[in-house]
Symmetry: C2
Subunit: 314 residues, 2 copies
């Protein structure tokens, strides 16, 4: 037999997608969130399961875990340009868990939903090993959903903010380094809802994905969906300032902190370089980090050397 | 501290609802599924987490578990009268699980979605203890959603089919009794999508709920939401024929099999008795089992004796 561990997460997801593919399947199966046309509106829905065991770093409060479990899903619909209209959470809770902690998780979910301009509108609570399955619902309001598969050769690649903050925060919490800003990045990821709406409204963006699985994985996923390659310039990558500190203190390669960790929620998107001025007018922060090529590989250029970047370790 | 086990599932859900209640919260928080108005359409969404450990009886194949995990959610939106338009599944999978089994679970989910007239349109797969978090999405198409809180004094109470089949099936599988029909009820629950649509389209129904948590719990939930009581007539309850066999063979009280087990997906609904003829014209099966009263209690009348029915053991 082949186990899930043997096949790996990404290949298993591929297998499932192929299994579910039908002639009349929507072609959005490939994206973070699913699209459903409802009358004149397009609905955008994402669901994700985060577990206490795997996604709650030591020292993260129940409230922050709740926030994070909601942010994962809001980020997925933000990457398509949707405005959130509701959130559902299915909690699986160990029998011996303090109900105060449950209340704190729910409060964190609620705060994140409010931050994203919406509410928790339903859900479910059952005994289990400890996890939150969130479902975020959004609407496109006439904008065209940004997909993963639209990157064109020659498009530039940009991200909405600095990278590696959550990685630095994770190590800071684990080793008690006290890097508060980085720790905040990890425990309170900000879904880029406004950025997603502005980017999709602009009509400029050819493809978009969030960085919740890390830059390496996001680039590989976007390039694979778009059937393109890319070159990323190391010097152009905006790095969270604490990544350097953590890298030096703990002797962790900076590249790994910036590219492979995940848990961050900036958007990565592509557009025609001739539209840079129009993008500047959107009043959102962005940093150009590379260019789409006609190959299949994600390539990092650093100090005049080229390295093929595979999926992150996350 | 008070643990989740101490407080219990139902009280915890109540606590969470109170925590999330805001002035502008939708009043549908009380129902199985959440309502979102989108343009002229009303969206109905339900999410539920089922675990291998708790919801997969010994002998249930991965495929049947997949079907069941989807049916739970389709049943929730069916009870409001929605037509399904999509399904998402977030799988949590143990590392050592055979990928063939994962494929079978997904196939079961897919079959159930197709049976309900829709598709799996997205999801997520992550390592974990083994669970499926499903999200079913439906639309009302102009019909008014059936809620739990609309039962009126004097309304009659009806169910769409025989009760206790899944309970009998569970014991049959456990004790190898070979009661195929009952086992099929357990492993292939049929969400009453067409019945829900017909009932909501009729405009006759004052309240509705599915029986996935069992008759006792459903009656208590519906009466509590409607701030009413009810009297159920034991002799009127349609009992799956295998319940009697199982009860006698294993010395289990028939009342417990018929009322407390859950895992069944008939709809329970209330309506004005003067509308019985109109309901007969809908071409759906139903059995009147009792009447709504002005008390707070769910009461079972059997052999001229009255017994207060509390929440099921499920």
């Amino acid at each position: 037999m082949t186990s899930f561990g043997d096949l790996g997460e990404r290949q298993t997801v591929k297998m499932i997608r192929e299994l579910l593919q039908k002639e009349d399947s929507p072609d959005s199966m490939d994206d973070d969130a699913a699209l459903i046309p409802i009358g004149n509106e397009i609905l955008v829905i994402s669901t994700d399961n985060v577990t206490f065991e795997r996604h709650r770093p030591e020292g993260m409060s129940p409230e922050r875990f709740g926030w994070m479990s909601a942010a994962v899903n809001f980020s997925d619909i933000a990457s398509m340009g949707a405005r959130p209209v509701g959130f559902l959470s299915a909690l699986s809770v160990p029998e011996d868990m303090d109900v105060t902690e449950i209340a704190e998780i729910v409060s964190g979910i609620d705060q994140c939903a409010e931050f994203c301009g919406t509410h928790v509108i339903g859900g479910d609570t059952k005994p289990g090993h400890g996890s939150v399955s969130g479902t975020a619902i959004g609407v496109m309001e006439g904008r065209t959903p940004m997909r993963r598969n639209g990157a064109r050769i020659g498009d530039v690649i940009a991200v909405t903010g600095p990278l590696g903050g959550p990685a630095a925060g994770y190590h800071s919490m684990k080793e008690s380094l006290g890097l508060e800003d980085a720790e905040f990045c990890l425990t309170t990821p900000i879904p880029r809802v406004n950025e997603g709406i502005a980017l999709s409204a602009s009509g400029i963006v050819s493809s978009c994905i969030d960085l919740s699985d890390g830059l390496s994985t996001a680039l590989n996923t976007l390039c694979e969906s778009s059937k393109k390659g890319c070159i990323i310039e190391w010097d152009l990558l905006p790095k969270h300032e604490d990544t350097v500190t953590v890298g030096e203190m703990l002797d962790i390669p900076l590249e790994s902190l910036v590219m492979d960790f995940g848990g961050e929620y900036e958007l990565l998107f592509t557009f025609d370089r001739n539209d840079t001025d129009a993008l500047n007018e959107l009043d959102i922060q962005f940093h150009i980090i590379g260019i789409i090529t006609d190959g299949n590989d994600v390539v990092l250029r650093r100090d005049e050397k080229y390295r093929k970047v595979t999926d992150g370790t996350y």
